[in-house]
Point group: C2
Chain length 335, copies 2
Amino acid sequence: MESGRVRFDPCHHHAAVGPMAGIVSPSMPVYVVENRAGGNRAYSTLNEGYGKVLRYGAYSPEVLERLRWMEDTLAPAIGRALELAGGVDMKVLIAQALQMGDEGHNRNRAGSALLGRLLAPHLVRTGLPTEQQSQAFRYLADNDLVALNPVMAACKATMDAAHGIPASTLVTTMARNGTEFGIRVSGLGDRWFVAPAETPRGLYFPGFTAADANPDVGDSAITETAGIGAFAMAAAPAIVTFVSGTARDALASTLEMYEITLAENPAFGIPALDFRGTPTGIDIRKVVRTGILPRINTGIAHRQPGVGQIGAGLVRPPSACFEQAVAAMAEALAR
Amino acid sequence: MESGRVRFDPCHHHAAVGPMAGIVSPSMPVYVVENRAGGNRAYSTLNEGYGKVLRYGAYSPEVLERLRWMEDTLAPAIGRALELAGGVDMKVLIAQALQMGDEGHNRNRAGSALLGRLLAPHLVRTGLPTEQQSQAFRYLADNDLVALNPVMAACKATMDAAHGIPASTLVTTMARNGTEFGIRVSGLGDRWFVAPAETPRGLYFPGFTAADANPDVGDSAITETAGIGAFAMAAAPAIVTFVSGTARDALASTLEMYEITLAENPAFGIPALDFRGTPTGIDIRKVVRTGILPRINTGIAHRQPGVGQIGAGLVRPPSACFEQAVAAMAEALAR
């Protein structure tokens, strides 16, 4: 699968959708990622960082204050810098980050550092007062997840372009809402194939244990859907300190994913595999035939609202999603 | 070997030494790296980038113009930013860069990006006019070798602290002048053990071939002397595209160097080897006993003055340096 050429375009105020609408503001700034080959766009919010963050359920005054600063000060400056930069090529950025120990889902230190240095020459030209500029650069320096959100949007823009191909058994979305896990398949329209979500296994931040963990939640599995994240673990051996495991496990994770994917992405070469492309494009038939479920790197949310992220680890989707999808495809093709 | 705690301190104007004196200016700005454990300091110039650069022998008007801009505008701003930052901990920076695909000699993209983002919140507070700030950020964004020079100085500050230990067979310097290769040994005072330099083997920039190459030149082999560079190749599989080879070669390079070193540096863990420390501290006895010569990643200079860097590759020191040093040590101990 070729990852479409995507660009990281200026932030626009875009109507918020879903459960976040009304919590922060009636509209919020988002990254706009354009798939120039496909002509489609995807969006993401700005990343808040680790720990007590809204996207993991925290909503204390400090969380809201940070979001207001991001909305009022940071996002307009990043938006203007992106305009001055003429956008950022996310495909190139992801390719470089995969050569620098990122897998693009749980580890984005390299991508974030690269994004920051691409924006910096322009950020100083935005007219933002010096102290606020300094704060913006501190946000870019301190948050290793800065790149995660535009990377997710790039993956979304890539996979949306692959949706709707008749009879295609390619998975175009994997998403979880904390209770259920759902997938969509290119040739099966808007149907979701849904089953109860698993709980991730991994490492917990100090003071938390597996008993605190919520079942798998979030739409970040779009990274694995597009062939990075856990699928690119071989590129990111250092991540094992964050999600548990060994360097050999990291290699094995990627090698296993070649068994259930349709292609290798030549743009995303993995140095440790002599630049073999990341395993890309999950095929529901291969998943059901081999019994190998996709691997997903993910953060772990506390099961109580208000706490936030409490760890990070690994999870797999329920097999029922793929079995239902294969049955639905067989039925559709038999008509 | 423990790499001493080093900090990256403000630039000072420091008397130029060696052949550069008088070419650029009677004094030039340098990074000052302090080994806080050892109390000693080392210095390096600011990196000029790739290709036509003074340190590889180029001296055209554009080379000199860039150096003047670096001296007049860039260095004072970086110096002030470093003051505001309270210095940068180079040991932490190198450790992080080794987890991000750098080996610290020929590949410094991660270290450079990390250094840039550490400086950015302070650089905007230096009072530099906006356009010059933007140029400084462009220098930090475009030059993947920004971190090389302070990394070299950090290695120098580390190894100088290990020099002068009675009867120690540790190599504390490896340096080349384009004609000869010389080493110094901790327990053998100020003596240099010298033999003709080899010519590196590697990949050439477009338009150049091995026939254009000068024999091995430069003092950057201080990185290998301190246990990074080619000794940390296993951390940087992507570098094989720059110096030739495969990911397996990168692993093998590091594994071979454990045979001739005294220790493993726990601060510099290699992810692909499950965070085994880099092979550190070349022992002249082990080199002579095993016949394994240190590996060095290096740039290749054109043999004609004025051209500059024309490629990058691998080189080893002549074995005679180590044989002479072992003989000298035997003689010294027999007295």
